[in-house]
Symmetry: C2
Subunit: 552 residues, 2 copies
């Protein structure tokens, strides 16, 4: 049975899901869903991979090694060394696979790609530990983000790719009446892949932000090179090893996908990106580097850069519920998610709730209380915060209390019971004046929250809009009990291309974007030009060609 036939049901379910946008997940996100021994086997596999060369890649003889990962939880080096290759070698090997991969029927490509995801599920717990000890995410978050959620995003890109690649008929008979004559032409339509793809990963979400572009490239026929952040290699290396194995087992060149590891003191990203054979670039990272990538001529580029997410508070049923929800959103992975809120716009006139009118001060106090309570919660605090991925985030967090503005919450000291050396730092909350835009119109990556005291909600919306126009954003949380006003705020934020999550409380959070239903990013703000996974995310990776010949 071909892999296409084997996985046709998954494919069809995924295609239907991207179309309907109701709930769908091919990969359950409960850590226990993958078998009774999965956790311990994963732990074993992870431990046994430490302190030695990573030898699972099928990329041929290497030209060097590199490895500099260090756990934000233990401070220890992982000690895994990866094979390295020059850019010329990587490109040459990728080019050698182009014909094979592009000529494979689309269904067969889909079958292989789904098989690779299915195989990777067996290593989700190993990937979770690799993610935890490179990114600083908690174990559960690492498991979810790098395992099922990333795999679902990959499947989503693949499904929408399959849908787009098959949307036109392969052959048509075209007959044009021309007076007494007719023109008869046989036409064939083909989706031609653009070329080689480069997917540039980031340190905080090494698989979640890499798999969508990679699977979008592969389903559309473009062999790809993945350039991970040198501090977060292992999680994506495991996925790529599985993909290469599936390719090889099925008679294909495993180098249809390659891992291009480099080191912090000798980065190869620019050399790869500027290589004329690279036609497609997916990038997640800083605004500065993202803008450089976007400026490269003759490349099709998909970026996710920095952004500043806002919360606009106008009114709510129960402000404690609101603040409890938001406290989790901001504490989760210490604000290191691209979807985490940073700026809280609260009117000086206060906020109406079902029970009372709360003053601005009461609202801010409730906020800092809930954040402090969660951070200091003996069971929840350290686990929710995770660890800071790198030293500069830590320094920024430590210095936050010295920022201009009024310290509403000085980060309480939180210790991890499990990891005494964890790079952990609770959120600091600073109150800044609405007229000090230079203070809050910037991304302060990590656990730093700004409360901006505005004249009223209109003022909040105006400032939040301006912020999106200048700096971009991925999310906006709005609390407003008046439905007409809520609609107006939603329209205003949508107009600057940011989705609104309205009146969210309980156990779902603004940070969470579900595959197959929520678009991640819109492509319309300075935070990035792409969206996981709208139709453009895949159909810019190939071109439609129609060939013609007279009918016989």
């Amino acid at each position: 049975m071909s892999l296409y036939a084997k996985h046709i049901n998954i494919l069809l379910k995924a295609v239907r899901a991207v179309q309907e946008r109701t709930f769908f997940a091919q990969y359950p996100d409960h850590p226990k869903a993958y078998g009774a021994n999965a956790i311990s086997l994963g732990k074993e596999a992870y431990k046994s991979s430490l302190g030695k060369p990573f030898e699972q890649l099928l990329q041929g003889p290497n030209e060097g090694t590199s490895g500099e990962e260090q756990s934000p939880f233990t401070g220890e080096q992982l000690g895994v060394s990866y094979p390295t290759y020059t850019v010329d070698t990587l490109i040459e090997r990728a080019e050698a696979t182009q014909k094979q991969w592009r000529n494979l029927p689309i269904g067969e490509r889909a079958g292989i790609l789904i098989e690779s995801l299915e195989r990777s599920t067996e290593r989700f717990h190993e990937i979770a530990l690799a993610t935890q000890h490179t990114t600083g995410q908690s174990y559960v978050m690492s498991f979810q983000a790098s395992g099922p959620h990333a795999a679902d995003r990959a499947l989503e890109a693949l499904a929408i790719g399959y849908q787009e690649l098959t949307r036109f008929p392969e052959k048509v008979k075209w007959v044009k009446p021309m007076g007494k004559r007719q023109a008869h032409l046989d036409k064939t339509f083909k989706a031609i892949p653009k070329g080689l793809g480069l997917v540039i990963g980031c340190a905080t979400f090494p698989t979640w932000n890499t798999l969508p572009g990679l699977y979008a490239n592969l389903i559309t026929g473009n062999p790809s090179i993945v350039k991970p952040h040198p501090h977060s290699v292992l999680p994506i290396a495991i996925y790529i090893a599985e993909l290469q194995k599936v390719l090889q087992e099925n008679g294909f060149d495993p180098q249809i996908v390659q891992l291009a590891v480099d080191s912090s003191d000798q980065l190869i990203t620019k050399e790869l990106a500027e290589h004329p054979a690279i036609k497609l670039i997916d990038f997640t990272g800083s605004t500065q580097f993202g803008e450089y990538i976007e400026s490269l001529p003759n490349k099709t580029v998909f970026t996710e850069k920095a952004g500043v997410n806002s919360v606009i508070i106008d009114s709510a049923k129960d402000m404690r519920e609101v603040m409890r929800n938001l406290a989790f959103s901001v504490c989760l992975y210490s604000g290191q998610m691209c979807t985490a809120p940073q700026n809280f716009f609260i009117p000086a006139t206060g906020v109406k709730t079902d029970a009372e009118h709360m003053s601005y001060e009461q609202v801010v106090d409730l906020f800092q209380n809930e954040v402090a309570a969660l951070a200091l919660h003996p069971k929840m605090g350290a686990g929710t915060l995770g660890a800071l991925q790198n030293e500069s985030t830590l320094k920024r967090a430590q210095n936050a209390k010295n920022m201009e503005g009024n310290v509403v919450l000085e980060a309480p000291t939180v210790k991890s019971e499990e990891f005494a050396k964890a790079r952990i730092f609770a959120p600091t909350i600073i109150e800044v004046d609405a007229d000090k835009a230079e203070l809050y119109n910037q991304e302060l990556f990590g656990p730093i929250l700004l409360v901006i005291k505005t004249k009223d909600t209109e003022h909040s919306v105006e400032l939040a809009q301006k912020l999106v126009r200048e700096k971009g954003a991925l999310t906006c949380a709005v609390y407003c009990s008046d439905s007409a006003k809520a609609d107006a705020i939603t329209d205003a934020m949508n107009e600057v291309f940011v989705p609104v999550t309205l009146n969210l409380t309980g156990f779902w959070f603004v940070n969470q974007h579900a595959a197959f239903s929520d678009f991640h990013g819109t492509g319309g703000t300075p935070a990035g030009n792409a969206s996981y996974a709208d139709p453009s995310f895949v159909n810019r990776r190939f071109v439609w060609i129609g060939n013609r010949t007279p009918s016989k």
Copy 2:
């Protein structure tokens, strides 16, 4: 009855057509299809518009006038003067219409846009004369290209836009099982237009290359400014006047679309293109200006630039039939179509036909014979050639015989019976060595044809591929009787993103790309980054937004 209801059948037929890609034309391309008096009424309307201000636009008080059109057939000034506006005025007025247009339901937008096309049909013959006397196209070609073919391309863009805008559900209930709990969210999905559009026209196809981008912008909710080439304004001015009338009659601001006329000595194109409010730019014109447009940051850009189209001759059933077909392709509008072939790759070893093996010299001789015969044909010649749009094309054509290389055909003198002063010049054919790439790796816009003597067909393909990679192309005609070899040539050309028209003879020509079936351009070559009308042509003009709120 709303215009949506009135035109729902046209809309649905067009949506089905872009999907199925079999023959469809909403607008018949026979000049007689629009009523018995249409031709004479059109002539009357055209004549009465000459020598006076064009007062049909609904754009408010103007800030100047401009008009410099001159007929390539008569040499006379049209004398039509158009209202002009500063860039600030144009932008300000366009911005004032944004809310109204974007908030209109998609079906209503489609209804208005289709109504505008239906109304324009009543002026197709007037548009034809306006096109003839600005572009130099023959009357019939002007009629077809600027009338029905342009309107069909507009409808095509509108149809695929409608399809894309309605592809996701407007509302879904999303329920995620989470252990004992569930998350319940109501989600809404909206397509948010990117902003203001600018459509920059060219002198040779003032409506055909302008309407697709304009209607793609409008159906996706983006008010637009059309900046025509100052030498070809009248044809598009008529379309815009009709569009504005339909908008106004239905209670909308007619300035949802505006015509921005400028003059050769004071072009406003760059000022418009660089204005931060302009988010979308459609451009047809030179490579140099197109590359400038593509380099502008924070714009979504659709370009059609110069290209060099090749013919690869390997073998054929009947070479006379081939050359007759190609002679028409190269004579039609004197090679001023972006789809016209320029470079003819013919193997030195000659060409196999069903009847005989023809030497290279015989093939070249047949080619020049057929071209000369058509150009000099008393009934067909002048009408097929039309006139040269501008003086630099004429100068280039006149100088062609002095090019390095061997003159195979020195342009025979052709006179138009109807227009004694027509700027007419027949094709020159030059034979150049395959190793003189600098001679044939360039666009020689107008009636200049190059025969390149190659070692064999493989050599021809190699040179044609290289040419596409460096200079781009829109079409490639291939003649090859061996089907395996033909497939290989097709694959090779498709690989560089050029469609192949194989073994075409009779009364259809490689230059002709039919709306709803043939993509025009692929977006994959240096000849342009866009394609009329693949899904990317419309869905890069808006972004998908998903808003969420807890279900009640």
